[in-house]
């Protein structure tokens, strides 16, 4: 990590100029609306306020604290505001530093820890949770996900296997296919999952959304763009506001040179950093005069993240530097730092693209080694791999 440290030291003081030195002002009109906050009349906010009041009266009530933390985590997912993750952590404060907290706290703490990329700590919690209760389905699923994100596919597969007879068949198959699809069994895992979904009668919207999104990504990796597009559209029919889905679909459309569709889909969703990145990429691809302003806005957000020494955004930042700022040297540094932490297909793709653009030998070696180790088959990475002359 010394490279990151050095980078932060060198760039930091310069960053403040953009992040914190606009010109403060006093609004002329007192009635001017200066900020939009969650309304207290909103049912979700009222529910949270009720739970908060109850917890304030009994801060050591673990059931109450867990359900408040759970609500905050869900809200962070829907709303995309990481502040809610901090509020969730605050609700769990009495147990936050305990070596062996109550079971319901363990999985929540692991979820919050992985959200700030503290993967080893998250795994420690999850290991403890499944050791104490081997029927804790949520702990096994979360454990499989963290293991997959960090690239430990055999362990992730083993976690999924523990779901047999404890979770519905569709969930077990999704867990397994998700891993198999990026570790050498692309076509088979894709077929199996599609069949399992088709056989399932009336899955809940949340499950349908999840599985169809994964199927769309698998189809894109297999190079079946027609099927991918259909799955993405089916997922959007379930929920057109899900930010993970919107980001994944945007990436697919950008690969298909369908930038204008991305621009119109995301133009009102730019409060979200990940979606702002896709929006700016689309505008740049369309050579829109508005692209520069969006690139500036993105730079402000990445600068702000670096000021607080956050590394959660390095994958997006690498893509930003590579495509929008045309700075492959910096991009490949970020992509390598990101790769040291997480190893999802998107992390691999940006690493390969940065390696190809920068000619960085280290990055190329990482790409070749991972291909060999994982057996990943991904049509979306092929252009970069051809440029790198690495056999897929």
């Amino acid at each position: 990590m010394p490279a990151r440290f050095l980078f932060a030291i060198l760039v930091w003081p310069a960053l403040f100029s953009t992040a914190a030195q606009a010109v403060p002002y006093i609004p002329k009109d007192g009635r001017q609306v200066v900020e939009h906050l969650p309304s207290r009349a909103d049912p979700v906010q009222r529910e949270l306020a009720r739970l908060r009041t109850a917890l304030n009266a009994q801060p050591n009530d673990v059931a109450l604290a867990s359900s408040l933390a759970q609500r905050y985590i869900e809200l962070a997912r829907v709303d995309g505001d990481p502040r809610y993750l901090g509020y969730a952590e605050a609700a769990l404060r009495p147990w936050w530093t305990m070596a062996t907290p109550p079971e319901q706290v363990l999985v929540l703490r692991a979820t919050l820890r992985q959200s700030t990329h503290q993967f080893p700590l998250a795994l420690t919690d999850l290991d403890q949770a499944v050791k104490r209760d081997s029927t804790n389905v949520q702990a096994w699923i979360t454990r499989a996900t963290v293991q997959m994100v960090t690239g430990d596919f055999p362990a992730a597969k083993a976690s999924c296997m523990r779901l047999y007879s404890r979770a519905p068949q569709l969930i077990v198959q999704t867990c397994l296919s998700n891993i198999a699809n990026v570790s050498g069994q692309g076509p088979a895992s894709y077929r199996q999952l599609a069949a399992t979904l088709a056989a399932q009668k009336d899955p809940s919207p949340a499950i349908r959304l999840w599985v169809t999104t994964l199927l769309a990504e698998m189809a894109a990796r297999a190079g079946d763009t027609r099927a991918a597009d259909a799955y993405f559209k089916a997922a959007l029919a379930v929920d057109q506001a899900d930010s993970y889905l919107l980001a994944a679909y945007s990436d697919f459309l950008l690969d298909q040179n369908r930038a204008p569709e991305v621009a119109s889909m995301l133009k009102d969703k730019t409060r979200n950093d990940a979606l702002l990145l896709r929006y700016a990429l689309a505008l740049a691809a369309m050579k829109s005069p508005d692209a520069a302003a969006q690139v500036d806005a993105l730079r402000d957000r990445f600068d702000a993240a670096m000021l607080r020494a956050d590394t959660v955004h390095q994958r997006e930042q690498a893509r930003f530097e590579l495509v929008l700022r045309k700075n492959p040297a910096l991009a490949v540094k970020l992509a390598k730092l990101n790769w040291a932490v997480q190893k999802e297909p998107a992390d691999f793709r940006i690493l390969a693209e940065c390696a190809a653009a920068s000619g960085d030998a280290d990055a190329r070696a990482l790409v070749a080694a991972w291909l060999k180790q994982s057996g990943l088959q991904d049509a979306t990475v092929l252009p970069a791999l051809r440029q790198l002359k690495v056999a897929a």
Binding site: W12, P13, F16, A19, A20, A22, P24, Y25, I26, P27, G30, R31, V33, V34, E35, H36, L37, S39, A41, I73, E74, A76, R77, G80, D81, R83, L85, G86, Y87, A90, T111, Q114, S115, V137, I141, T142, T145, A167, P168, S204, I207, W210, D242, S243, Y244, A247, R271, D273, A274, A297, D300, R301, A304, A305, L307, R308, V312, H313, R315, A346
Partner: protein, 376 residues
């Protein structure tokens, strides 16, 4: 099925986190400028965060107006100031909010607080204690930029690191040393008790006491040697106690020290009117010099000593005291030597002056022993 939905929600959540947390997390931006003992600054805190902490949206409709923010100005200032403390050299530097403005950052509107603080003395290390929002959002961070003498440094406050000692950049070793030399000189010049004690011992140095009373010395060399003996003895003595007290080896209550200093001035001046220890002035200078050293030490401790440069500042301060002292001697000796054979010097300056000094020092003694103010 409810259970499965819940599971999947959480799993989906993990996937989303793979993309990136969508918005910026909570940060505040603190900019501090240090000049001498003054600190000015600006603190940007997100209106969203202030609303969660103290409530800004008075009608709860979600549309926050400038009137609503302005109406909570006192509460915002009080809340912010209760979460930030600055100190230098062990003494706190009281903070004030001088203005409230707004600023638009890339992730929303921020309240901008203009800050002002005065420390007791020149700042070489600024101790900052930051606790904003940590109770509500442990992922909150305070991002500090500190500017001093054209140099900029940065720091991050987190719940694990709420307290940080910020080395004021550009305060080089020599600069620090120079600061303390100046403090020493200044303290001697404004410390009338030390000057009067020294003068009481120096006034008779150009004279000799005999059967016929005070007579002028024959040579300048004799006067010079006499002055040298007194000043050296005084310096040696107060250097010893200054060092011991600063390093914490010896400690005396300040009221005892201050009273003893006043008493030393009374005795030294009375000796000029009724000579008792005429030939042993150097010994007296040494004995009372020990007490004066404690007085210097309390000043130095109040200034605040950087632990990293303890010895340097101690030596600097002592050098400053000697420079201040020698300047006084350099002005005094030629004048006194020239006037030594006049009645004016022997009667008015020596005896009359010593009477006045005795009187002043008696008042000090009274004030300090009984902790009572007669002259300010």
């Amino acid at each position: 099925m409810m259970r499965a939905v819940r599971l999947v929600l959480c799993l989906l959540f993990l996937m989303v986190c793979g993309v990136a947390s969508a918005h910026k997390p909570s940060d505040s931006y603190l900019v501090l400028n240090v000049a001498g003992k003054e600190v000015t600054g600006q603190w940007d805190i997100a209106l969203r965060d202030l609303d969660v902490a103290i409530g800004l949206d008075q009608d709860g409709n979600g549309a926050l107006t400038w009137d609503e923010v302005r109406g909570r100005q006192d509460a915002i200032s009080a809340y912010a100031l209760s979460r930030l403390a600055l100190a230098s050299g062990g003494a706190s530097c009281p903070l004030h909010v001088t203005a409230l403005l707004l600023d638009d950052h890339s992730d929303g509107a921020y309240a901008v607080l203009h800050l002002q603080a005065s420390c007791a003395a020149g700042i070489t290390v600024l101790d900052a204690n930051y606790r904003l929002l940590f109770d509500i959002d442990p992922q909150h961070k305070g991002l500090l930029r500190l500017t001093a003498r054209g140099q900029t440094s940065t720091a991050i406050f987190t719940p694990d690191r709420p307290q940080q000692a910020l080395q004021v950049e550009g305060a080089s070793r020599w600069r620090q040393f120079g600061d303390y030399v100046l403090h020493g000189v200044w303290h001697i010049w404004i410390g009338f008790d030390h000057i009067l004690f020294l003068l009481s011992l120096l006034l008779p140095a150009v004279l000799v006491y005999g059967a016929a009373g005070w007579q002028g010395r024959d040579t300048f060399r004799g006067s010079f040697i006499e002055v040298l003996k007194v000043v050296t003895a005084f310096t040696l003595a107060h250097s010893v106690t200054l060092t011991l007290a600063t390093l914490g080896v010896v400690a005396l209550p300040s009221r005892v020290v201050e009273s003893a200093i006043a008493a030393s001035v009374v005795l030294a001046a009375l000796n000029n009117i009724w000579p008792v220890f005429e030939r042993r002035r150097a010994i007296v200078a040494f004995a009372f010099g020990l007490i004066h050293g404690f007085g210097f030490a309390s000043v130095l401790l109040d200034l605040g000593l950087p632990q990293s440069a303890l010895l340097l500042s101690l030596v600097g301060f002592n050098v400053g005291v000697e420079i201040g002292q020698l300047t006084i001697v350099a002005v005094f000796l030629p004048l006194a030597f020239a006037a030594r054979r006049t009645r004016l010097y022997r009667r008015v300056v020596l005896v009359g002056g010593s009477c006045v000094i005795t009187l002043i020092a008696l008042v000090w003694l009274f004030e300090r022993v009984f902790d009572f103010k007669v002259i300010s």
